[in-house]
Symmetry: C2
Subunit: 301 residues, 2 copies
């Protein structure tokens, strides 16, 4: 792998494109590969065993692309699968969205001795206690309020935005316990939520810092690649993109496990730009790639 | 297979348990096997290729149980996968929820020459046009209004019921176009929706017949088994069940692809009774069963 190798960004579906957007803003010269597991989404109400199995297959599939880094652009996958999979893919480097979000939350809590930090996330992320651990390592005295918001991502994927009364009521219900407890900081603990950041900030009121884990994750990726001497040198002309044209496949190559058209039509909401129709890797093909990868691995070992 | 062989009921997750409830009421002596694909739910926003692939794996897995009948207790799976899979499993008989629902809707429309029939369903079921075809075969002049309700099943699975303001608002939004058009009949075209039947009927108002496809599906199964001479003779004592005890595994054996505890805790909402903790078949194991099944099949052919 080299500075011109791709960065792989993986997610259960579309939400991770908010991370791609942030990485593209921070690192415009990088080549990105996005993998959205749209056949098996969502991950947020599934178990660690199931999510780890799915992500293992995705990693086996992208391994031949020799990525210089893999970003878990999904809070649930970061919480449930990332630690367990490091050992299985020793040649890959991973980073997720939880550590950068927790770091930013700890910083945003400022000098207050016992700040109250809220997190909204999927059921699985809340249950994993990954945010508690990551924040308490930095601010041992922080009070934490974890709020599962299981229907928020489905409502966003349905195409509803900040003006939709149903989405507003859902958000109001999920945020009410956090507003009542006067929290100092709120972490958006799911990569779907940044599309609602403005509305969330208004509902929480002034004085509550709202942390967008997608932005923080992109900064973290830039720092890691810089430290490893793996930043793309830039200088090619492919980064220039016509307005309104889909992003060049050389810059952003997308794979999905189902329904390429649906992905392409919803992508602009999360990415702020169009994508070329992604390549479909069916769950069967993904499974076969994993089998082959496992055999090659066993033979080499 | 014989009259004492099991009936397999399959679904993407929990909704199909409303069909199990109806079958148990209509046919209390039958042995039932339920398969909920909880690792990959929902099916309602996935493509025909993905859903067919998932259901093919489930059928390969249950085939060794020699079921006397297989019920697709999921509108999406019925619409997208059932026709394509008949040829792959010639020794199995299938039935679904759409034909019985369509038949009941056509009958409920009464003598009216051009009745207006509404259907609420998942996006994939609506897109498939399976209800249009099934209703128009019976009532060629019926006006049809198909309304996708993508977030209704997730809100129900979250544990929300008819008293919840968010669920009521969602239902109000989805039903509004149907109420406005003065429909005569409304089909609940997803096996999650029967838990809201009372609320839907009140919102639609008197004079609108609300068709519960779970009930109609159970009647259809009883009719099919009767015609084939495959009804369970009954007479065993296992059908008596203590109140509050989980249903005996001999009467209802459950398999899921993920998170047995979650399934067991949510099941009573749909089934009106408790289930024993189901057996977990991971997607990897399901895939391996399918591979073996495929090989045996190719060798036999």
């Amino acid at each position: 792998m080299s500075p011109t190798s791709p960065i792989v960004v993986l997610d259960s579906g579309l939400g991770g494109l908010t991370v791609v957007k942030a990485i593209r803003a921070a690192l415009p010269h990088e080549r990105l590969v996005y993998f959205g597991d749209t056949a098996r989404l969502p991950y947020g109400n599934k178990s660690a065993a199931a999510v780890t199995g799915f992500v293992r297959e995705i990693l086996s599939f992208v391994r031949p692309l020799q990525p210089k880094h893999v970003v878990f652009a999904c809070n649930t996958a970061t919480a449930l699968a990332m630690p367990a999979l490091r050992a299985a893919f020793p040649e890959l480097t991973f980073s997720g969205v939880i550590e950068p979000g927790a770091k930013a939350a700890a910083a945003a809590a400022g000098a207050k001795e016992r700040p109250t930090i809220g997190v909204i996330a999927t059921e699985a992320t809340v249950r994993s206690k990954a945010y508690e651990r990551a924040i308490h390592r930095r601010r041992g005295h922080a009070r934490l309020l974890l709020q599962p918001a299981p229907s928020l991502a489905p409502l966003i994927e349905e195409g509803r935005d900040a003006r939709d009364p149903l989405l507003r009521l859902a958000l109001k219900q999920y945020l009410a316990p956090l507003i009542k407890r006067n929290i100092d900081v709120l972490v958006l603990g799911c990569t779907h939520y940044p599309v609602l950041k403005g509305l969330v900030a208004r509902m929480m009121g002034e004085g509550v810092a709202v942390i967008d884990s997608a932005d923080r994750c992109a900064d973290d990726v830039a720092r890691r690649l810089g430290a490893a001497g793996l930043l793309h040198p830039g200088g090619d002309s492919a980064s220039a993109n016509c307005v309104d044209a889909p992003i060049d496949r050389e810059r952003l190559r997308c794979f999905v496990t189902d329904d390429a058209e649906r992905f392409a039509s919803l992508a602009p909401r999360f990415l702020g730009a169009r994508v070329a129709t992604p390549e479909v890797v069916s769950p069967e093909r993904l499974h076969a790639a994993t089998e082959r990868d496992g055999q090659a691995f066993r033979q080499a070992g």
